[in-house]
């Protein structure tokens, strides 16, 4: 059984509060590395804004005018999901979440680059804009800058958490 470290006595959800660091916590349980300290809080904030932006935008567009540009609106919804997962991973913290967020940021960056190029090369496929159109120009290029800074931060977090 490898689940000894994951036993229910160890508080899994109480990581956020400072009160969770009680003496009852087994010393073997490694403390989950915080990813939202320092610059991380800014990343969480910007990702949170992008989640709200992308999810609400695609929700409105898919529910009211999906036939107009199904591909664009679906891509916006996918972008919203990716942003949501990265935000959750950052807030949760820990090595697994850090790696998962890193993978998602890479996927996000690839998505921005592919969709950005696609919208420029073949505008007819996109009767309406997505979050990632023109490399995120409608969002102040945050969609393309965010994954770069997040990946930089997440790689740095590993070396300091070490």
């Amino acid at each position: 059984m490898t689940a000894t470290e994951e036993n229910p006595i160890a508080p899994r959800d109480g990581q956020d509060g400072p009160g969770a660091q009680g003496p009852a916590e087994p010393a073997a349980g490694p403390k989950r590395a915080r990813l939202i300290s320092g610059p991380g809080i800014l990343l969480v904030w910007l990702y949170g804004v992008m989640v709200v932006g992308a999810v609400s935008r695609s929700a409105v567009q898919i529910s009211t005018q999906f036939d107009k540009a199904p591909l664009a609106y679906s891509l916006s919804a996918v972008a919203g999901l990716v942003y949501g997962f990265i935000t959750y991973s950052l807030v949760r913290g820990g090595e697994t979440a850090r790696r998962a967020a890193l993978v998602c940021c890479a996927a996000e960056l690839a998505g921005v680059l592919v969709v950005g190029t696609w919208t420029l090369a073949e505008p007819s496929a996109f009767p309406d804009a997505t979050v990632w159109s023109d490399y995120g120009m409608g969002y102040l290029f945050i969609p393309v800058l965010l994954p770069l800074s997040a990946m930089y931060w997440l790689r740095k977090a590993r070396t300091t958490a070490g």
């Binding site: 939202i36 300290s37 320092g38 610059p39 809080i41 800014l42 904030w45 804004v49 709200v52």
Partner: protein, 119 residues
């Protein structure tokens, strides 16, 4: 009336962003005065939310649709308080940077609100 309020909120949001950006530049966390500033900007956004809803109730129609209009009004109101709470959790310069980013986001939302309302 609504357009004037939109402009005022946008300017106040940019001023807050500059102020908190300055605090971040000097390596300081957000202080009480910053939170008073955030309260003022949030109050403007709240007044805007109320007036926007009143305008809707009086039968006026935003140019780009009521749903989007209300969504942006709520987003504009929630923006600064959310950033403020995050700066409470992060008592370093990065908390100030977060509020500064919140001010910029709010200013962008106000520009969009101006378009949506059709001023």
């Amino acid at each position: 009336m609504f357009d004037a309020l939109t402009a005022a909120t946008a300017v106040a949001a940019l001023a807050l962003a500059a102020w908190c950006g300055w605090a971040a530049h000097r390596d300081q966390p957000t202080k009480d005065w910053h939170f008073i500033g955030m309260a003022v900007v949030s109050l403007l956004a709240l007044v805007q939310l109320v007036i926007g809803v009143v305008q809707l109730a009086r039968g006026e129609k935003p140019e780009q649709g009521t749903t989007i209009f209300v969504a942006y009004l709520i987003g504009a109101f929630a923006c600064i308080p959310a950033a403020g709470f995050m700066s409470l959790a992060e008592r370093t310069r990065w908390g100030s940077v977060t509020v500064a980013a919140g001010g910029i986001v709010l200013a962008v939302l106000e520009v969009r609100l101006y378009d949506i309302w059709g001023g």
